[in-house]
Subunit: 287 residues, 2 copies
């Protein structure tokens, strides 16, 4: 009975209760992805996950190894290869590879039967249960994402809005819940390509900027301190929350620790409040 | 064939390959113990563990809950109750409860068939495989333990030697590998009680001091940066190792992170290089 009132998961999906995760990365991000998956499994021991990987050039042997790795964590994986030609004119860099754009294509690429998927950046550590986000009612929105305006500076948000000519908060797309059924009705591949190329010179975080331009108004905001905690700014979160978001609070409540920015936690030089935690997970992936 | 040449594990033990862990704590340390067990299981996914708990006053319902908790980590547990009267005259405090003395009694308390056990303090986080310590050849020694002389200050070691009138390095007994077969031949309960009472006024770390007095000369030294890393002294380890023991090295090589001293990582105020890591494990125990 209750299943019928649920407006975003088919009864079939509700029955198997599997959480669908979307990832899009290139060969350079295989190890961070493995870390993310390890932390996801450890913090969500009672869940069943299926991973959808949209990629272009991950070699077959790496895909085999990834599938086996996921299987050890009792996670299944489907890899879908996307033609590189589609985004050949999009701005890319080592930090922002072409694969980042693929999250926006997911509504067109993923099987029609799939009604909801949670996109996660590979530079994320999962430290608590993701179920309440997975079950979140999106009402009339197609996406849910967090904004870092609160912790960074509201001014930055204004700059981003002015830069992109948008009205809504500037969303970080590192964690993106997608209602595929609704997103399919608004996602047009041509529009994405055009936006990427037209705005090439204004784009700072290419894929994220495009997402904000095209889909920001279809996105409902979720709390960044829970769903997209910027791991660079422990002190800022603590200060702005008047001491509430201390380390105990973060460890007990934050779900996604997002290692935003250029200083990546897998680098030898990285030292931050969560560096031991991240490096411990890096070490666990080979066990 | 090779089993017969192995001088410390019976062929039966070699067959089931189970690692025997000894713990001794009171009710106040149940949660730290659960954290330790969680980290042990996660960092040693291919091992089978059996826990021996020597205690005096842990209520039956807590023992049931602990057994169930261990069982979730695929770990078995045997609790052995020791008569409190035995150590009624020993110096104790909240930080150093009576149960700490029980590790020295283990050779007399544990089943005769058991040939080796690894004692672990409950304020430890296990972050790598313990197998190589478990399989260590002890030659003619009865125990293996680390000294913190290297990281603290050699002077401290001299003070401890002078204070206790011992010749050998001052051992930290938070991690203690015990060859039970040999230890049974030298362990006399009366001698332990007498030493505890005779030296009551000189004892700073009561159980550890007694161990050093009575069994220090039967103990082989193991590397503290691997087997008993004092989590207070990241910078000192880094400095003394000329930069070798950085965070990557510690996460990849250290097996036991020992949260020595009065500032315990489960306290709200605790902040240290490994605080996020410890608090993450604290949070995992309820999953």
């Amino acid at each position: 009975m209750t299943m019928k009132t649920n407006n975003y998961l088919s009864s079939e999906k509700m029955t198997d209760n599997k959480i669908n995760i979307l990832v899009t990365f290139d060969k350079n991000y295989i190890n961070p992805f493995r870390v993310m998956i390890k932390s996801l499994a450890i913090s969500n021991p009672m869940e069943t996950f299926h991973i959808w990987l949209l990629h272009s050039a991950i070699p077959q042997e790496d895909l085999f190894a990834l599938t086996e790795y996921c299987s050890k964590q009792k996670i299944t994986l489907t890899a879908i290869e996307i033609d590189r030609e589609l985004f050949k004119n999009a701005p890319v860099s080592k930090q922002y590879p072409q694969e980042m754009y693929y999250r926006m294509m997911a509504p067109l690429m993923l099987p029609n039967g799939l009604e909801r998927v949670l996109y996660l950046d590979p530079d994320i550590l999962v430290i608590n249960s993701i179920r309440s986000l997975w079950e979140m009612q999106l009402e009339n929105y197609s996406f849910a994402a967090a904004s870092h305006g609160f912790v960074l500076d509201e001014f930055i948000d204004e700059v981003n809005k002015a830069r992109l000519g948008t009205e809504h908060d500037y969303f970080n797309t590192g964690v993106l819940l997608i209602d595929l059924k609704r997103a399919r009705t608004i996602t047009k591949a041509e529009e994405i390509y055009r936006c990427v190329i037209d705005k090439a010179n204004q784009l700072i975080l290419p894929d994220q900027d495009v997402f904000n331009c095209l889909y920001g108004s279809y996105t409902v905001q979720i709390a960044d301190e829970i769903w997209n905690y910027d791991a660079r700014y422990y002190s800022a979160y603590l200060l702005k929350s008047e001491g509430k978001f201390d380390l105990d609070w973060v460890m007990q409540n934050t779900v996604f620790l997002h290692f935003c920015g250029k200083q990546k936690p897998w680098k030898k030089k990285y030292s931050g409040r969560f560096s031991a935690l991240y490096k411990h997970y890096m070490n666990l992936i080979d066990m």
